[in-house]
């Protein structure tokens, strides 16, 4: 059996879709962030796998992943800060409740 590119990509895509599912259904904002992390990770894996399988001569994908991890960290930091902030204001981090402005 030959483990080809697609074998690596399928788990990554599943992971991505799990992220989407979680992001769309979870009510807790932190859970949504966790789902986002899943998606980001799936993208990282994509880059790495593409790099490794198709373009082994360069390191572009790997570096993108490297920076993406940093970006993810920054995103998470800001997002968590804001979520905690809203928790302080409202004692609640249910995303359903953050829907006062509409139409």
């Amino acid at each position: 059996m030959d483990i080809t590119l697609i074998y690596y990509l399928v788990p990554s895509l599943i992971m991505f879709c799990c992220g989407i599912y979680g992001f769309l259904t979870r009510k807790n904002m932190i859970a949504m962030l966790i789902s986002l992390e899943l998606m980001l990770n799936a993208i990282d894996i994509n880059f790495v796998v593409f790099n490794r399988f198709l373009y082994p001569g360069s390191m572009e994908g790997m570096f993108f992943t490297l920076f993406a991890i940093a970006i993810a960290a920054a995103e998470t930091a800001i997002a968590i800060a804001i979520i905690i902030n809203i928790f302080r204001a409202d004692k609640n981090i249910n995303v359903e409740d953050a829907s006062q402005m509409k139409n």
Binding site: F16, G19, F23, M29, M32, L36, M39, L40, A42, I43, N46, F47, F50, N51, L54, Y55, S58, E60, G61, F63, F64, F67, A68, I71, A74, E75, I78, A79, A81, I82, I83, N85, I86, A89, D90, V95, A98, S99, Q100, M101, K102, N103
Partner: protein, 484 residues
């Protein structure tokens, strides 16, 4: 390793210097001197703006092996953003003196400068990694700015919505990029374009990649259907932040969008994304207008209006090879002045009375005629009424689009033109409230701060002058045609 390459990034470095000076001033100056932070930041930013007009800045350069590019066009769009930023900063001075904000006002200016830096990168990046970093720099700290008004729950809610959507959009964008990388093996614009061109045929993977990239960048521009965050965020954010988001961020996004679409995916224009663009333009203009019609909150109203304006901006992208770039830049410039005039008035009124509803504007003419007049000019300019600048920018953007000459474009432009009627309707609603309504004015007479008036004067001058003084547009067009 040639670190001198950094010197190609004159504007970025200048901006960072401004940032550092503001940071140092805010951190180390005695408390009594901090009242001037705003003006210091404005002054420094003004210098940076002037600096941008130095001829040496607009020289073409290409650094880090093609990862970064600067030329007359990028310098110019950065200058346009600088001008807008200066105005936003002036408008923010009064706001930043509020009790809740005053302790963090230094940070506000710092964040503006840093996000502007991110936009610089977006504009000049010719490599997707740098682009993503610029994009994130331009959008993540904005979430913190949106959450600036701690006493208003809306501000928090807006920040949450913003950050969640922003991160999701960057995920979509990066997913698309991963596909692009998989297809072409590179993240350099030029190499990707080369690979796509070499491949000749078009694949599903490329289409998905393009769609995801458009979706990711469309978030910044709030193109429909990637726009849903816009209204809530604009409404919830403090007014200076809203105005910053609606003009500067949008302008940078528009230009970056243009660069990416044409420089990266230019080869598959007619195959892959021409019709996507048409659909997005029609949707954006129409849906934005339809929502704007009903809005009562002025900021939310302008949010939808800015969505539909983004649709018009997109028309400039179609004619990239013709006059599109100049028309787009001109549109953004005019849009900055018009929209900032409107936000200036909204901010002044909000600061003085805390009112932002259109119903409160009834009879504004009687109590504050100058504000009402400024607002009316802004509305007329946004609606594209001559002799105000908005008319010219709309005309030129349509002209540039039609220069592509296909029948589809005529239909597209016709739809856009018909939409201008709807937009005129809601812009006139504001005018009606201020000038025609005979109800007792809600807003008492007040004197706006001198910073606010200063900013409004600049905007009014721009609205009136930018169109009639043809050298602005002529200069842009000249510059673009020599640079291309």
């Amino acid at each position: 390793m040639d670190y001198s390459q950094f010197f190609a990034m004159k504007q970025e470095i200048g901006l960072l210097v401004v940032f550092l000076l503001v940071f140092l001033y805010d951190t180390f100056m005695p408390k009594r001197a901090l009242g001037a932070t705003g003006w210091v930041a404005v002054g420094l930013m003004a210098i940076q703006t002037l600096f941008g007009f130095c001829p040496s800045v607009s020289q073409s350069a290409d650094a880090f092996a093609g990862m970064y590019e600067t030329n007359a066009i990028t310098a110019c769009i950065k200058n346009i953003l600088n001008i807008g930023t200066v105005i936003v900063m002036i408008q923010a001075i009064r706001w930043s003196k509020q009790d809740m904000v005053v302790i963090r006002r230094g940070e506000f200016y710092e964040l503006i400068l840093l996000t502007l830096f991110g936009m610089y990168l977006m504009i000049s990046a010719r490599h997707f990694l740098l682009f993503i970093i610029g994009l994130e720099t331009a959008s993540l700290p904005v979430a913190a700015m949106v959450a600036f008004d701690k006493h208003r729950y809306e501000s928090h809610e807006a920040a949450v919505k913003y950050i969640l959507t922003a991160v999701f959009s960057s995920v979509i964008l990066m997913m698309g990029l991963s596909f692009v990388y998989g297809l072409t093996g590179s993240l350099y614009f030029s190499k990707i374009a080369g690979a796509i061109f070499a491949e000749g045929t078009i694949s599903l993977m490329l289409i998905v990649a393009v769609a995801f990239v458009i979706g990711g960048v469309g978030f910044k521009l709030s193109l429909v259907p990637f726009h849903l965050w816009t209204a809530d965020v604009y409404q919830g954010a403090p007014t200076p932040v809203t105005s910053y988001l609606s003009v500067i961020s949008k302008g940078a996004g528009a230009f970056a969008f243009l660069v990416i679409l044409w420089q990266v995916f230019g080869a598959v224009y007619s195959d892959a994304w021409e019709w996507m663009l048409y659909a997005l333009i029609i949707l954006t203009i129409t849906i934005g207008n339809l929502f704007a019609m009903r809005q009562k909150n002025m900021k939310r109203f302008l949010a939808f209006s800015s969505i539909s304006q983004a649709g018009y901006i997109m028309l400039g992208i179609i004619a990239f090879r013709g006059m599109g770039v100049a028309a787009l830049m001109y549109y953004v410039l005019v849009y900055i002045f018009s929209n900032l005039a409107a936000f200036g008035v909204i901010g002044a009124i909000e600061n003085a009375t805390g009112r932002v509803s259109m119903d409160d504007y009834q009879g504004l003419r009687k109590t504050n005629p100058k504000l009402a007049f400024t607002m009316m000019l802004a509305m007329f300019s946004l609606a594209g009424i001559p002799p105000f600048a908005g008319f010219f920018s709309k005309f030129f953007i349509f002209t540039s689009a039609i220069s592509q000459g296909s029948v589809a474009i005529y239909v597209l432009v016709l739809i856009a033109l018909i939409n201008t009627i709807i937009s005129l309707y809601y812009y006139l609603l504001v005018v009606k409230a201020m000038f025609i309504s005979e109800e007792t004015p809600v807003i008492p007479e007040f004197k706006s701060a001198c910073s606010e008036r200063f900013a409004m004067w600049i905007c009014v001058a721009g609205i009136i002058g930018l169109g009639i003084v043809s050298c602005v547009y002529n200069g842009l067009l000249d510059m673009v045609s020599t640079a291309c």
